[in-house]
Symmetry: C2
Subunit: 172 residues, 2 copies
DNA sequence: ATGTATGCAAACCATTTGCAATGAC
DNA sequence: GTCATTGCAAATGGTTTGCATACAT
């Protein structure tokens, strides 16, 4: 069995234990959703998860999807992100190296960056709080948008100069 | 003039420059909103901002609030957070010590924590990306909810035991 | 004068909710 | 058999949008 299968088995086991402990039913939908999530590399949203299930003819309602995601969040098998848009992004929490996120505030692109995580000093300072997971969000401008911005700035400057010189600089 | 007034003057100046450069109009609404935001300590959301303006009889539409907040985000005077709920939180970016956020995934409480920020090593590793601001989100369970959770677990365990012993353990 | 910004109300859309039907236990 | 869970469709609510009006330039 390959690593991916092993991982799926492991998380299924954890999920089962969680469901048992919390007296929740072990429905096929729940396990199918978990399985699908752990087939996805990187971030996903509800729409893509829904579609990926429809694609293999597994019928689930969105309500069940949301319901199950919440369970998976509660038991720490899935992480939720809201990078700035209005749709939530998720990603599996297991077998997923911790990483920071570079979020372009202009185009919304999210780039992952692995690196040093929270220092021991920082973690030691956390009291009266049980840490489940953490992530650093770094907002800024990606290279593509820096370029676009630069172009716009030039245009604006040109406009301002024209305005100053002949007081008719008018362009979008 | 006290420090708060000085800060307000400083950000107003920056905002003005931004508006001028981008050929946006300097409307009283925009400056009033900036001023109100810089009167708020800590996080705020649209509703509370709206109310704080209504309270002093400054009439603004929500549309203008959203419009202006976007400008303030663009010029880096305001930060936006989405901690997990469905409403966005904001906070001023100037005169606001960098801090991490401890977010309780159960009750939604957000606690701020100042501490070591990104290491130089980490920042050096960021390429082709202009960092505006960053924040570490630490999800977990706050002390209050740990307690509640513990109570619930005990209840569940009791239920499970009863079930095993007499197979009629039934409680919420 | 010109066209950007405002205010209002309607539209949007991800997410949540209510309820009847299903199926795990 | 019981009641948690599902699926559907309607409701919710923060945010966005369209358009007529107001006002900064």
């Amino acid at each position: 069995m390959d690593a991916a299968q092993k991982l799926k088995q492991q998380v299924k086991k954890e999920f089962t234990e969680y469901l048992t402990l919390h007296k929740c039913r072990k429905t096929p939908e729940r396990f199918a959703i978990l399985d699908h999530i752990y087939s996805i590399r990187g971030h996903f949203d509800m729409e893509s998860l829904y579609n990926s299930m429809v694609d293999v003819n597994f019928r689930v309602s969105r309500a069940t999807l949301y319901n199950t995601i919440q369970l998976l969040l509660d038991c720490g098998l899935v992480m939720k992100h809201q990078f700035g848009g209005n749709i939530s992004k998720y990603e599996r929490a297991y077998g997923n190296e911790n990483h920071d996120h570079l979020i372009c505030t202009l185009c919304g692109e999210v780039r992952e960056m692995t690196g040093d995580q929270l220092t021991t000093v920082q973690l030691k300072n956390i009291r009266k709080f049980k840490v489940s997971y953490y992530s650093t969000y770094i907002y800024g401008t990606c290279s593509k948008c820096i370029h676009v911005k630069r172009m716009e700035m030039k245009k604006l400057e040109r406009g301002n100069q024209t305005k100053q010189n002949k007081s008719n600089g008018k362009q979008t």
